[in-house]
Each structure stands twice: as structure tokens, then as C-alpha cells.
């Protein structure tokens, strides 16, 4: 179980990233944030977000049009 879940389904660029940035600050260091999104662009964007900010993408997946990312708060 992630420490926090962000439901960004139905939102378009850049809202999932902006909301994830806020949400990850509410997760303790080394804790995890789970993001749910329906924006296909978010797949590349969350990878870029993690590489740039120094947070760690632990897991990515897709099920029935919903993308799921598990991000570890490491930055």
C-alpha cells in the first residue's frame, strides 16, 4: 500500500504533474505516492518528472485505460 493515493483520472496536462508535486510533499521521505491517471501523455511525463526531481519511479502499469505510477519520495 502506498502512503498516499492521488486520483488524477480525467485530468489533462499539466494537472497530474502539478497535483503530484503537491501530493509528494505530503508523503514522508522514503514513503510512496500512488498516482492514477487517464492521460496517455502522463506515462512519459511522470518518468521525466522523476528523473528531473530525483524521486524514484518504483512501478508503472496500465489497466483498462488507467495508468498507475508508484513514486518513492527520495528528493
Amino acid at each position: 500500500m502506498a502512503d498516499k493515493v492521488l486520483d488524477a483520472k480525467g485530468l489533462n496536462c499539466p494537472l497530474p504533474i502539478l497535483k503530484a508535486k503537491k501530493a509528494i510533499l505530503e508523503v514522508p521521505k522514503d514513503g510512496t505516492l500512488e498516482v492514477l491517471s487517464t492521460d496517455p501523455g502522463s506515462v512519459a511525463d511522470f518518468q521525466a518528472f522523476c528523473r528531473t526531481t530525483g524521486n524514484t519511479m518504483l512501478e508503472t502499469g496500465e489497466n483498462a485505460g488507467v495508468y498507475r505510477f508508484i513514486i518513492k519520495h527520495t528528493a
Partner: protein, 165 residues
């Protein structure tokens, strides 16, 4: 990002357009950059100043835009200039655009602007444009600064990314 780290990246954007469509690129890039730890300055000049007004009344015009296509009833619609000239067409196009924005989960400009303010993005209004168009700082949102070309140049010379939109 309120803290200034020595290795923090920075970006400046010159914002020159104040229509509903062209309001998006600067605010999307500025807020996303801030979320990724970039220190952002936006310099609003000429029509871009419309984006700083307390009362946002952004419009879109199909006139002279052969590249503008709007989805309509499963098709795509282009507006001939002759029709774009008619009274009320800008208002209709603006309403269509706002409906699309809401339907597709795209952030509104007020939302993105609030996010920009919340992320401590520096917003500078061009003093010369204010004088030229007889606009007042009081008509603009709180927290903005005034400046000129030299203010921008100082930012730009110290920035990793400089954009003109």
C-alpha cells in the same frame, strides 16, 4: 520552490500574447517547471499583460487562423475568414473553446495562474506597456513586479532556459 539551491535551474519566459489559446503555453510550462524544481520568471509585455489582469476576460478569434480546427459533432471545423469577421463569432469560438477545455479535463487559465502564484513564480509586468496602453498596476493581480528590458535581460543572462511566447 522558495529555497534557492546553488544548482537550481532557472527559466525565463517572455509572454507577449493574451488570447485564451496563447495563454496556455507560458502558464503550462511555468507551472510544470516550478513543480520540477525550476526557478521561473515570467515577463509580461504587450498583449501578454492581459493575463495579469484581476478580471480575466480572455477571448479567442478564428480570424486569420487557417491552422485552427475545432472538433464538432465528430468532425473538424475550420472557420473561413469571411465568417470569422462577423460579429459574435469570437464570442462563439470562445464559448466552444471553454467547453472543450472543461470537457477534456484541461486546466482553466485562472487555475494555472493560481498555481503559478502558489509556486512562487516571479511575474514581472512591462512598465512601458502599462504606460503605452494606459493600464494601472492596480488592475493587475497582487504580487507582481514592474520592470523593463534591463530587468528581463538580467534574468535571462542568469537563466538556463529563455523562452519567447
Amino acid at each position: 520552490m522558495s529555497q534557492t539551491e546553488s544548482n537550481q535551474k532557472s527559466m525565463s519566459i517572455i509572454v507577449t500574447k493574451g488570447t485564451l489559446d496563447w495563454a496556455y503555453p507560458p502558464f503550462i510550462l511555468a507551472t510544470t517547471a516550478a513543480a520540477m524544481g525550476v526557478n521561473v520568471s515570467m515577463f509580461f509585455t504587450f498583449y501578454g499583460l492581459a493575463l495579469l489582469k484581476k478580471d480575466l476576460d480572455l477571448q479567442i478569434s478564428p480570424l486569420g487562423k487557417p491552422d485552427m480546427v475545432m472538433p464538432l459533432a465528430g468532425m473538424h471545423m475550420k472557420m473561413p475568414n469571411m465568417i470569422g469577421m462577423l460579429p459574435g463569432v469570437n464570442a462563439m469560438a470562445t464559448t466552444m473553446m471553454k467547453n472543450l477545455i472543461a470537457k477534456k479535463g484541461v486546466a482553466s487559465i485562472p487555475t494555472l495562474r493560481e498555481a503559478a502564484v502558489e509556486s512562487d513564480i516571479e511575474m514581472i509586468a512591462c512598465q512601458m506597456t502599462l504606460d503605452l496602453f494606459e493600464m494601472k498596476k492596480e488592475e493587475m493581480i497582487d504580487g507582481i513586479k514592474l520592470g523593463g528590458a534591463a530587468t528581463y535581460m538580467e534574468k535571462a543572462l542568469a537563466s538556463d532556459i529563455n523562452l519567447y511566447i
